[in-house]
Amino acid sequence: MKKIFCFALSVLMLFVFASCGNTPVEESSDKQSLPLSEIMAKIESQITLPAMISLSSADLSDFYGIEETEYSEFCVSICENSLQKDQIIMFKAADESYVDGIREKLNTIRQGALDETENYLPEQFDLVSKSEVRVNGLYITLFVSPDLAAINEIFDNSI
């Protein structure tokens, strides 16, 4: 009797441990997201952009005041022509504590473009006016483009 009882208890314990191991792990939503470089490649393949310049991390520090410690990924391109304000700016913050800071700095960049263009480049002013700094989890973006809706859709479907 004791042997049967011990055997049953052992089997029961086996089941308990097995069920712990089988607890499904929730998949992070980031696992589904494409790297920002691939999102940029998708944008470039589907949208006709003007000639653009890619910024380096040093440029991000110098121009935007956004330091490498604040983000885990970035992809930033601006129009080569100084008279056009087309921009593709994407960041993935290192963690939630950096999201607001990056958003604030991108808003400063956007406001600067509005100030510059308001009085002498009305078409560019309209373009920048339609843009907005968007936050989705750890992702912060600023797209300035006549194809804003299409670019937003590509990005939203990629994360």
């Binding site: 121009f63 022509n81 960049i109 009085n119």
Partner: protein
């Protein structure tokens, strides 16, 4: 009853529109607490102004006349700038230019040195933004371009804005590391020891002469107040391409402006770099191969990559030789 409601609604809407009609025209009121001379809004808008100020008697008498030149002056000018003094009707006073060129020659290193620009900051408007973009593009490919020079630029930037505080809502200010700053503050924050400044394209055609002259001097005063040890290199305003002049926005007025800049440099001991001549064709207009905004909607003043390359090449290899 419905008609009465409709009438009341219409009245309320019309009252609302009247209250919201914000008039930004008058910015000469004394709400501006600085002593900076404040132009009217019509004067601050350059490229789109439809009502340029009436040319004053002072301005008409300041037009530069072409002088007879000695062979030595012509030869010197050709060596330095690639243009001839007699061909370009928009050149500044040649004697003044020669004096300033002598000062500049004494200041520069013996051999080309991109490192010369490592502690430099370039201040400018959308024309210099083109130089900045070229620098970013080239440096990110691993190529040298003006050493590690920094840039403090904004489209529409002018001497009026550079002399203004951040509280002046009519002024344009550049950003430094993501923060809006005044030009003098940005120079100080950058830690630069050399300041290459090119402003004026958004000053001369929209402001009266005494206004932009005052703003030029106030800008230099404020730069030196915050950064007394910097060396200032004033770059002349670049030319307009043929066919793109209008109203007061002319190469002749650029020459008047540059002449004044040169005289300030001589008086205050700043260096003067005649970039205007470097980028002009033989008739004094912006060389069209250097211009990146020709055609419909273009302004005829911004540089193409060959233009920015010629500019940088002059600074690195001629100025710094």
């Amino acid at each position: 009853m419905k008609i009465a409601k409709l009438a009341v609604t219409a009245l309320a809407v019309s009252v609302l529109f009247s209250a919201c009609n914000i008039n930004r025209i008058d910015n000469t009121v004394t709400s501006e607490t600085e002593t900076t001379v404040v132009p009217t809004t019509a004067e601050t808008t350059t490229e789109t102004t439809t009502n340029p100020p009436v040319e004053t008697e002072t301005e008409t008498t300041e037009k530069i006349e072409t002088e007879a030149h000695t062979d030595e002056e012509v030869s010197s000018a050709e060596t330095q700038t690639g243009t001839t003094a007699t061909d370009n009707p928009f050149r500044i006073d040649t004697n003044l230019l020669d004096d300033l060129r002598d000062m500049l020659t004494l200041s520069r290193p013996d051999k080309p040195s991109p490192d010369f620009f490592n502690d430099a900051v370039f201040v400018g408007d959308s024309v210099t933004l083109g130089l900045k973009n070229r620098a970013v593009s080239e440096r990110n490919k691993g190529n040298e371009f003006l050493g590690e020079a920094q840039f403090l630029c904004a489209g529409s930037l002018n001497y009026y804005s550079a002399a203004s505080s951040l509280s002046n809502s009519y002024a344009i200010h550049p950003t430094y590391k993501g923060q809006k700053v005044t030009v003098p503050e940005g120079i100080k924050k950058s830690g630069a020891e050399k300041v290459f400044i090119m402003l004026g394209m958004n000053d001369f055609s929209g402001s009266a002469t005494e206004v932009w002259q005052s703003n030029i001097n106030k800008t230099f005063d404020k730069i030196l107040e915050l950064s007394p040890d910097v060396t200032i290199y004033v770059q002349s305003v670049t030319p307009i391409a043929n066919g793109y002049e209008y109203g007061k926005f002319t190469n002749e007025n650029i020459a008047v402006f540059n002449n004044y800049l040169a005289s300030v440099c001589k008086e205050r001991g700043f260096y003067y770099i005649d970039i205007n001549s470097v980028l002009a064709d033989e008739t004094g207009y912006l060389n069209k191969s250097y211009c990146g905004d020709l055609g419909s909607g273009g302004m005829g003043i911004h540089m193409s990559y060959p233009g920015t390359d010629a500019w940088a090449d002059y600074l690195e290899n001629t100025f710094c030789r």
